[in-house]
C-alpha cells in the first residue's frame, strides 16, 4: 500500500466501522491518521493497535474492529502461503493441523487455515479473474467459503489425535485428572481459533473478489449489545451471559447514583454545623438529611416459550444479579400456565447455561403442548399468586404477546395493574411487528406501557429508566 491511497483507505475503514455500530467521528479519523503518520506502516500489529487506540471508545468493540481491520488492511493479497509450504491433499493438511494444534503454534494455524481455504473453500468461477472488484455475472455467485473448507477438513474429528499428540509431547500430564482436563480445554480452544482463522481468511479472499464494503456489511458479526435476542445464536447467547456481571454492576451504580442525587429534603442541622467549622462557623454548604427510599419489590413474569426464551432467560439472570437493589424479587414463568421459579433462578446464578431447560422441566408451566397461552397464563397468575402483588411491587412482564389467536385475557392484566404499583411490558419483538398475525401486543399496550426491547443496549436503558430509584 502506498501513502497516497492511505487517507482514502482509512476513510473507507472508518465508514465500515460506523456501519457495524461503532461510532467513529471525524476527530477520531484525524487522530488515526496522525497516529499512522507517527508510527509508519512497517509493522502491522502496531498499526492495528494504533488504530484501535485512536478509533475505539469502549471494550466491546474490539471484535468488530479486528474483523474489519483484517478486511481493510489484509496481511497479504491473493493466496497467503508460498507453494512450497502448501500441503498437497486433505490428509497432509490434517496431519499438519494436528501437529500445529498440539503445539499451539498460532502462526502455523493461521497459515494452515489459509491453505485450507485456498485448497477447498473455492466455489463458483473464481479462478478466471482474481482481481475483479465489484463482481458481475458469475463472479457474484463465486467466492471462498469457510463452511465448505471446514466441511472438508473437519477439524472437530481431529480432537482425539490432537490430544494423543499432546500427551506424547507432555508425558507428565497423565491421561486423567488435571493434566488431561487442561490439555482438552486447550485443544478445544485452539480448534475454535482455527475455525475463526478459516472464517477470517474466507472473508478476506471473498472481499478481494467482490469488494470490501459488501463483505464488511454481511460477514462481520455485530457487537454483542446490539444482537437481537430472538435471533441470537448459541455462541451469541453465551457471549451475552458473560456481560451480565459487568452490566449488573453498571446498572447498580447508576441506580445508586440516582438515589443519591435526590436534592430535596430536610436540613441536617448537626452535620451542617460541623461542616461550617471549616468556613469559620458560617454555614456555607448546608447538608441535607439523607432520604432513605424504601427498596421496591420486583415481580418478573416471563414467557418461556420457544422464540422468546433466550430473552426471558437473560433478563431473569440480570434481575437476579441486581438482587441487592430490591427488597425482594419473585420470578414467574409461563407457557400455558404460570408457576413460580424464584428458587430455580437463584440457584441458576452459579450455572446459568441450562436455566431455560431446568425451568421447563422442573416447573409446571404448561398444561399441554409448548405453544404459549397468554390468557390462561395471566389468569392462573392472578388466581394463584395474587399475594405477590402489593402497593410496593413493580411488575415486569416479558413476552411477545403472541397468543396463538387465543383470548388475551385483558381483565387479568387490568387486575395486575390495579394491585401493583408499576407494571411494564418488555417486548423482544420490533415495534413494527406488534399487532401483526396472532400478536395481541397492541391490545396489551393499551393496558400497560409496552417497550420494545430487542437487544442488551435497549434492555439496560430500560432497566435504569423504569426501575424506581
Amino acid at each position: 500500500m502506498t501513502t497516497e491511497v492511505l487517507p482514502a483507505r482509512l476513510v473507507d475503514f472508518v465508514g465500515a466501522l460506523r456501519e457495524r455500530g461503532v461510532e467513529v467521528g471525524p476527530g477520531e479519523t484525524v487522530d488515526a491518521a496522525a497516529a499512522v503518520g507517527v508510527l509508519g506502516l512497517a509493522d502491522r500489529a502496531r498499526l492495528r493497535e494504533a488504530l484501535a487506540s485512536t478509533v475505539l471508545r469502549r471494550s466491546g468493540q474490539r471484535g468488530v474492529f479486528d474483523a474489519v481491520f483484517d478486511l481493510y488492511f489484509p496481511m497479504a493479497v491473493g493466496s497467503a502461503e508460498s507453494a512450497a509450504d502448501r500441503p498437497s491433499d486433505v490428509y497432509e493438511l490434517r496431519d499438519a493441523l494436528v501437529a500445529a494444534l498440539a503445539e499451539g503454534d498460532e502462526a502455523r494455524l493461521r497459515a494452515l487455515a489459509a491453505a485450507g481455504v485456498e485448497a477447498f473453500g473455492q466455489y463458483g468461477d473464481v479462478g478466471s479473474g482474481g482481481e475483479g472488484a465489484n463482481g458481475t455475472g458469475s463472479k457474484r455467485l463465486s467466492g471462498w467459503s469457510a463452511y465448505q473448507t471446514l466441511g472438508e477438513v473437519r477439524p472437530e474429528a481431529l480432537l482425539s489425535r490432537v490430544l494423543a499428540a499432546m500427551r506424547a509431547a507432555r508425558p507428565g500430564d497423565g491421561d486423567a485428572g488435571l493434566g488431561a482436563a487442561l490439555a482438552e480445554r486447550e485443544a478445544r480452544s485452539r480448534l475454535t481459533a482455527f475455525r475463526e482463522h478459516v472464517q477470517a481468511e474466507a472473508r478476506r479472499r471473498t472481499a478481494e473478489l467482490r469488494g470490501r464494503e459488501r463483505i464488511a456489511r454481511h460477514a462481520v458479526a455485530s457487537q454483542t449489545d446490539l444482537v437481537t435476542f430472538t435471533s441470537a445464536t448459541k455462541e451469541q447467547l453465551a457471549a451475552m451471559r458473560r456481560t451480565i456481571q459487568p452490566l449488573s454492576r453498571k446498572l447498580a451504580t447508576r441506580l445508586a447514583a440516582r438515589r443519591r442525587r435526590a436534592r430535596r429534603g430536610q436540613i441536617d442541622l448537626r452535620r451542617t454545623l460541623r461542616r461550617s467549622l471549616a468556613t469559620g462557623g458560617v454555614p456555607m454548604r448546608p447538608v441535607l438529611r439523607e432520604r432513605r427510599p424504601g427498596r421496591p419489590e420486583l415481580v418478573v413474569l416471563c414467557d418461556m416459550s420457544g422464540s422468546v426464551a433466550g430473552f426471558a432467560q437473560f433478563t431473569l439472570l440480570l434481575t437476579q444479579a441486581l438482587a441487592d437493589q430490591f427488597s425482594k424479587i419473585r420470578s414467574f414463568a409461563f407457557v400455558g400456565l404460570t408457576d413460580e421459579i424464584t428458587d430455580l433462578v437463584s440457584a441458576g446464578r452459579d450455572e446459568p447455561e441450562g436455566l431455560a431447560t431446568r425451568i421447563l422441566s422442573q416447573a409446571r408451566v404448561t398444561r399441554w403442548g409448548m405453544s404459549s397461552d397468554y390468557g390462561e397464563s395471566l389468569g392462573s397468575f392472578v388466581e394463584r399468586f395474587a399475594d405477590a402483588l402489593g402497593p410496593r411491587t413493580s411488575v415486569l412482564i416479558l413476552g411477545d404477546g403472541r397468543t396463538n389467536y387465543g383470548d388475551p385475557n385483558l381483565g387479568a392484566l387490568r387486575l395486575i395493574v390495579e394491585r401493583a404499583r408499576h407494571v411494564y411490558w418488555l417486548n423482544p419483538e420490533g415495534e413494527t411487528f406488534w399487532g401483526t398475525g396472532d400478536s395481541a401486543a397492541l391490545r396489551y399496550a393499551k393496558v400497560v406501557p409496552m417497550y420494545e426491547c430487542r437487544n442488551i443496549r435497549q434492555l439496560s436503558r430500560l432497566v435504569t429508566e423504569l426501575l424506581p430509584g
Binding site: 467521528g25 476527530g27 477520531e28 487522530d31 496522525a34 497516529a35 507517527v38 508510527l39 509493522d43 500489529a45 502496531r46 493497535e49 494504533a50 484501535a52 487506540s53 485512536t54 475505539l56 471508545r57 469502549r58 471494550s59 474490539r62 507428565g172 497423565g174 486423567a176 485428572g177 488435571l178 488431561a180 482436563a181 487442561l182 480445554r185 486447550e186 480452544s189 453465551a238 451471559r241 458473560r242 456481571q245 459487568p246 454492576r249 453498571k250 451504580t253 447508576r254 447514583a257 443519591r260 471549616a278 468556613t279 469559620g280 446464578r349 452459579d350 450455572e351
Partner: protein, 295 residues
C-alpha cells in the same frame, strides 16, 4: 511542543521492561502514541491486569514524578484541584487585627494559603510528571467536566491568582474499571487502551520476573491452569496479581510441580467465590485424584 519521552516503540518496551513492566505490543504502541501525540491515555480493563502498575512503571522508566489522583464517589474540585486553607486564613486574619482590608485580602489569597491537590500539583511541576487519575469511573459526572477543562489545555484558573499554565505537560494516564460509561467528550480527548489478560507467554514472563525463585516448568503449568480458569466463565476470573500471588504461595509450599492435590488445596488463593471454586474443581477434574495403581 516539548521533547518526546521515547524515540521508538522498541524503546518503550525496553525501558518499561527495565522498570519491571513487560509491555505487550498494544501497551507499548499506545504509550508511544500518547507520548508523541500529547494525548491522555485512558486504560480500561478488568481489575488486576496492571493498569495502575503501568503508570508506576512509566514514572520509573522515564524518571518522572508520579502524581496520583484517586477518584471516589463525591470527589470534587477541592479534592482534585486546589483548596484554600480556611483555618490558616482565619488564623492569619486574627493574628493581624490592625491591618487594612486591602492588605489582608492580598495576603490571605496568596500562594502560602493555597493547598494544591493532585491536578494542580501535576500542572505546576516543572519536572517530568506522570499524572495517574485512578478509577475515573468512580467519580461523578461533574468531575469529568473538570477533567475535560484541565486535560484539554493543561491550565487551571484560580480566580484570586490568575491562570496557571503547565510548565511541562504531564503524561496523563486515566484508568477505569468500566463500572460506568465515561462521557463521550472525555473519551474523545483520550487514546483508548483496553488492557486484557496477557497472552500465556507474556504472563509466564511476568510471573517469573515477579517471583524469581520459581521453576520454569512450574510457571508454565501455572499459567496453563490460570488460562483454563479464565476460559471458564467464572464470577471473578483470576487476575495477573492473583497469578503472582499463587506463584508465591506455591514457592512457599515448596511445590515443584502442579498436581490435583496442590491445585485443590491452594485454589483459594486465586478464586474468591465458593461457587467458582466448585466449578473449577469439577471442570479441572480435581476430584479424580490419581490412583497410582490405575493405568
Amino acid at each position: 511542543m516539548q521533547d518526546p519521552l521515547f524515540a521508538s516503540v522498541d524503546e518503550v518496551v525496553e525501558r518499561l521492561a527495565g522498570a519491571g513492566y513487560l509491555a505487550s505490543t498494544a501497551v507499548a504502541t499506545t504509550v508511544f502514541l500518547a507520548d508523541r501525540l500529547g494525548k491522555p491515555l485512558l486504560v480500561e480493563g478488568p481489575a488486576g491486569v496492571g493498569k495502575t502498575e503501568l503508570a508506576r512503571a512509566l514514572a520509573t522508566a522515564t524518571g518522572s514524578e508520579l502524581v496520583r489522583l484517586q477518584c471516589y464517589e463525591g470527589i470534587d474540585e477541592s479534592r482534585a484541584l486546589y483548596e484554600w486553607n480556611h483555618a490558616k486564613q482565619l488564623l492569619r486574619i486574627t493574628a493581624a487585627r490592625d491591618e487594612g482590608w486591602q492588605e489582608t485580602r492580598d495576603h490571605v489569597f496568596s500562594e502560602e494559603f493555597l493547598l494544591p491537590r493532585p491536578l494542580l500539583t501535576a500542572i505546576r511541576n516543572p519536572d517530568p510528571t506522570v499524572l495517574l487519575i485512578d478509577e475515573t469511573d468512580k467519580a461523578d459526572v461533574e468531575m469529568e467536566g473538570l477533567l475535560l477543562e484541565v486535560l484539554g489545555d493543561f491550565q487551571v484558573t484560580v480566580p484570586e491568582l490568575g491562570t496557571i499554565t503547565a510548565a511541562r505537560r504531564p503524561f496523563v494516564l486515566l484508568t477505569s474499571n468500566a463500572t460506568r460509561e465515561l462521557s463521550e467528550a472525555l473519551k474523545r480527548r483520550c487514546l483508548f487502551l483496553h488492557l486484557d489478560f496477557p497472552t500465556p507467554e507474556l504472563e509466564r514472563d511476568i510471573v517469573t520476573m515477579q517471583v524469581p525463585g520459581l521453576d520454569a516448568t512450574l510457571a508454565e503449568s501455572l499459567v496453563r491452569v490460570v488460562g483454563a480458569l479464565r476460559d471458564m466463565d467464572l464470577r471473578k476470573a483470576p487476575s495477573i496479581a492473583e497469578s503472582v500471588d499463587w506463584a508465591r504461595t506455591l514457592l512457599a509450599l515448596g511445590a515443584d510441580s502442579l498436581d490435583e492435590q496442590i491445585v485443590e488445596s491452594s485454589l483459594g488463593v486465586i478464586l474468591k467465590y465458593q461457587s467458582d471454586h466448585r466449578k473449577a474443581a469439577a471442570e479441572l477434574r480435581l476430584d479424580q485424584l490419581l490412583d497410582p495403581a490405575s493405568p
